[in-house]
Amino acid sequence: MAELSAKTPCAGLLPVSAGGVTLSEVDAGVLTSLSPRRGRAEALGKALDASVGAKLPEVNRATGEAGSRVIWFGQGQYLLMGPDPAAALGAEAAVTDQSDAWAVVRLDGVAAEDVLARLVPLDLRAQSFAVGHTARSMLGHMSVSITRTDPDTFQIMAFRSMAKTLVHEIETAMKGVAARGAG
């Protein structure tokens, strides 16, 4: 019998640091995409609450915390991060395992906003993108999900196959910002 060994999307690429900002890989656990059936968003919210104690977020918002989080993930789409999805969710939503589909990284540091300003066409300053805010957008040419999880921390998700480009883009921006910060 074969034994399969696992490899994370950013294996060998992270962590990297520059100018007080650190980019590291996150093991977010099980990732489950939930797309409520027609008219069943509310029912999905209840089932989610009942099964894993998580709340269905509004558009552009995330609920929960590290280890158990629900992120608004697009039109009619949510991503449950952490807990195993309960079977009951299948009655209300299309449930798809995406645990291996995304490279999940976190960007920590006071200058994280400045780093992302080089890459993402969104106003990610705390005044307009607070903790618990999330967005689907672009990072360079890549489709990403960005969530502010802590005052100086962003969670960024990109396609697994693009992990190397994701790290390259963010690291390049980090170095540029760090050099400017050096005064």
Binding site: V59, Q75, L122, R136, S137
Partner: protein
């Protein structure tokens, strides 16, 4: 250029994929005449002024949206979810 996605809010145009005239929503009956189908698939107006076209928020939430805008002033006059427009016309 900025477009307000009815789901996500105002976003940079680079998140959107442009398709063309929103006439695409009005798919004719399969038995409609050749002329009707020809108009639907091939013939497009090119107005100087207000147009309605279809954009896809590919670099965002994935919604197809109908954007009403002015080709002279570049003003974006309004945006709606394509599914809402389609269902309202059904």
């Amino acid at each position: 250029m900025r477009i307000t996605c009815p789901v996500c809010g105002e976003r940079d145009r680079r998140e959107f994929y442009y398709v063309g005239d929103a006439v695409a929503l009005q798919r004719p009956d399969p038995d409609a005449s050749d002329v009707v189908w020809d108009d639907y698939v091939h013939n497009r107006d090119n107005p100087a002024g207000v147009t309605r076209d279809l954009w896809y928020h590919e670099g965002g939430c994935g919604a197809w949206i109908v954007v009403t805008r002015n080709t002279i002033t570049h003003e974006v006059l309004g945006t709606e979810l394509a599914s809402d427009v389609k269902e309202a016309s059904a």
